[in-house]
């Protein structure tokens, strides 16, 4: 089981390229998802303070 993971990760030397691509995709997408949520919470907290 362990070595098949090893093969999957290494992919005869080209593995890091693929995983770095996946990592960059996840980072950029999560930034685009989280920023609106943070903005919404900020408005929510400000809104409640006014009431």
């Amino acid at each position: 089981m362990l070595d098949s993971l090893q093969i999957l990760f290494l992919m005869d030397g080209k593995g890091p390229y693929i995983w770095s691509c996946l990592l960059i995709f996840m980072v950029i997408t999560s930034v685009n998802i989280i920023i609106p949520i943070i903005r919404l919470n900020k408005i929510y907290r400000e809104g409640n303070l006014e009431e």
Binding site: M11, L40, G47
Partner: protein
């Protein structure tokens, strides 16, 4: 049959008014996230994990399962923005302007993903980080178009004015994008006789091609989720002092 069609039409018209869209988005956000996660992860796992290795390039071609879908998505987000720009110019629909403002950062993000993965792909295959391939160059120009839209929108304070300026730019952009792609393709053949273009997907083996379709579908589901998420935030931030926002948003 036209009963179904009229229900779809009513749903589309309902989406035109911010409160109704906000209610639909809040209720179905979780489902959209789940759907996007399922389709996308199955596509990626199938593509990266189980599809056969390419005889020429070895395993590094698997980057195609991220690079191509994000490039396609960046293109279709721009077309979506142009359509909503046209709607906002002709019918002055407020939600269309908001849609552009929330879709632009997403489009820029996906274009960035396509660019970075394209250059990472170039390293093992051609030994350089950046190669002036026709498709990569037109994606780079698309990124500049997104930056122009975001820059113009943030530079105008009055949001309704900013929406109309940005919809003009989006409509103009969608006319120019095919011209740019054609001239860049032609420019590449002029200076370099056709080397290996980055992705000739139709000629790929079927088992490599099917996961790619699933990945593209997954990316579209992800975009629908991200768009409704950021459009929801945009509506609330734009209509804060309206009555329906106080009733629906602050009372949760």
């Amino acid at each position: 049959m036209n009963r179904v069609w009229s229900r779809i039409k009513n749903w589309l018209i309902a989406m035109g008014s911010p409160p109704l869209f906000y209610r639909w988005a809040t209720s179905s956000l979780a489902w959209l996230a789940l759907l996007a996660f399922l389709v996308l992860s199955s596509g990626l796992i199938w593509g990266i994990g189980f599809s056969p290795t390419d005889y020429k390039q070895g395993d590094v071609y698997r980057i195609i399962y991220i690079h191509v879908p994000s490039a396609i998505l960046a293109e279709s987000i721009y077309i979506l923005m142009a359509v909503s720009g046209f709607i906002s110019m002709v019918w002055r629909a407020k939600i269309a302007g908001m849609l552009i403002n929330s879709a632009a950062p997403l489009g820029a993000g996906f274009t960035l993903v396509a660019l970075v993965t394209g250059s990472i792909w170039g390293k093992p295959t051609w030994g350089t980080w950046w190669v002036w391939d026709a498709r990569l160059t037109s994606t780079l120009i698309l990124f500049f178009l997104y930056a122009a839209i975001i820059g113009l929108h943030s530079s105008i304070e009055n949001k309704t004015k900013a929406d109309r300026a940005v919809s003009i730019l989006a409509v103009l952009g969608v006319v120019i994008v095919p011209i740019i792609k054609k001239s860049v393709d032609w420019w590449q053949t002029l200076h370099q006789p056709s080397t290996f273009t980055l992705t000739s997907s139709p000629s790929m083996a079927p088992e490599m091609y099917q996961p790619l379709l699933v990945c593209v579908l997954g990316f579209y589901c992800l975009f629908v989720f991200m768009l409704s998420n950021s459009l929801r935030g945009e509506i609330i931030s734009r209509e804060r002092d309206k009555a329906w926002v106080k009733k629906q948003f602050f009372k949760q």
